[in-house]
């Protein structure tokens, strides 16, 4: 009962992550073109997305463990872990770089997040 409710959350949550990651990627791309370094707004946005990613990983892994249907477990957990770790790495590199290209790296990290989460949804959908 509770699990079914959690399952209903996973897909909208993932969709929210994809959209916000794409917005961050676009924002960082524009910032790269303008030749500025990552702004506080981008960092707050990244932190918010990171919170969503952590929640998504917890929800996804709880569902995977409790769901007896066949999900490719190693792949599924691997994608969640990568998704959680990648954005902090991109942000760290983005801040450390004192040029516009820090924003370029952030754009790549955010775009990769969107792709990762889309793949996660695919893997989740393939179970049935």
């Amino acid at each position: 009962m509770v699990l079914r409710r959690i399952a209903a959350v996973l897909v909208p949550l993932a969709a929210l992550v994809v959209v916000s990651a794409l917005v961050l990627a676009g924002w960082s791309l524009v910032a790269t073109a303008r030749g500025v370094r990552p702004s506080t707004g981008q960092l707050i946005g990244s932190a918010a997305i990171e919170v969503l990613l952590v929640v998504q990983a917890l929800v996804g892994i709880v569902l995977m463990v409790t769901d007896d249907r066949d999900v490719e477990r190693v792949t599924f957990v691997g994608y969640h872990l990568t998704a959680v770790l990648l954005l902090p790495l991109g942000v760290g590199w983005g801040i450390a770089d004192r040029s516009r290209w820090g924003n370029g790296v952030l754009a790549i990290a955010a775009a990769t997040e969107a792709v990762l989460v889309l793949r996660l949804l695919q893997i989740w959908g393939e179970r049935a």
């Binding site: 190693v74 792949t75 691997g78 990568t82 991109g90 590199w93 770089d97 040029s99 290209w101 820090g102 370029g104 790296v105 790549i108 990290a109 990769t112 792709v115």
Partner: protein
């Protein structure tokens, strides 16, 4: 004088080079993860495809590391890796179209990288352009 050269080679990982290193790092990670899973769990199903998948992973890791190191020697290693990458994506891409049965599972280079938005096809070309740019500025100066 060697110091001036070393500073010049460092251009490899600065500016747009950072983007290249970042994208290569993403592919090194995803190709290694995918190849690792394929080689350890189902090598017997399509050994050629999965060994090529492993080769792709190695090429991406070598390219990432040598681009990030940015020395005169790592330039040559990076050049070799990127050329091998281009040959690989073209060969595996063509094979996977001609003989799909031998390539049952998606690998990074299947269908010329279609599963990855054709980034694997564009990446070595951008890599070669970038290396030529760096080479021109460092040696040509």
């Amino acid at each position: 004088m060697p110091e001036a050269g070393a500073v010049g080679w460092r251009a490899m990982r600065s500016g747009p080079g950072r983007i290249l290193v970042a994208v290569y790092a993403v592919f090194a990670l995803s190709a290694s993860a995918r190849a690792g899973l394929q080689l350890t769990t189902k090598l017997d199903q399509a050994p050629v495809a999965y060994l090529l998948s492993g080769l792709a992973a190695v090429v991406y890791v070598v390219a990432t590391v040598s681009l990030a190191r940015s020395t005169a020697r790592s330039f040559r290693v990076a050049l070799g890796a990127v050329v091998l990458e281009l040959v690989g994506v073209l060969t595996v891409g063509a094979l996977s179209v001609v003989d799909p049965v031998a390539f049952p599972d998606e690998t990074v280079w299947s269908g010329f990288g279609a599963g990855y938005g054709y980034v694997p096809l564009a990446l070595p070309m951008l890599g070669l352009l970038w290396l030529r740019h760096v080479h021109g500025h460092t040696v040509g100066a």
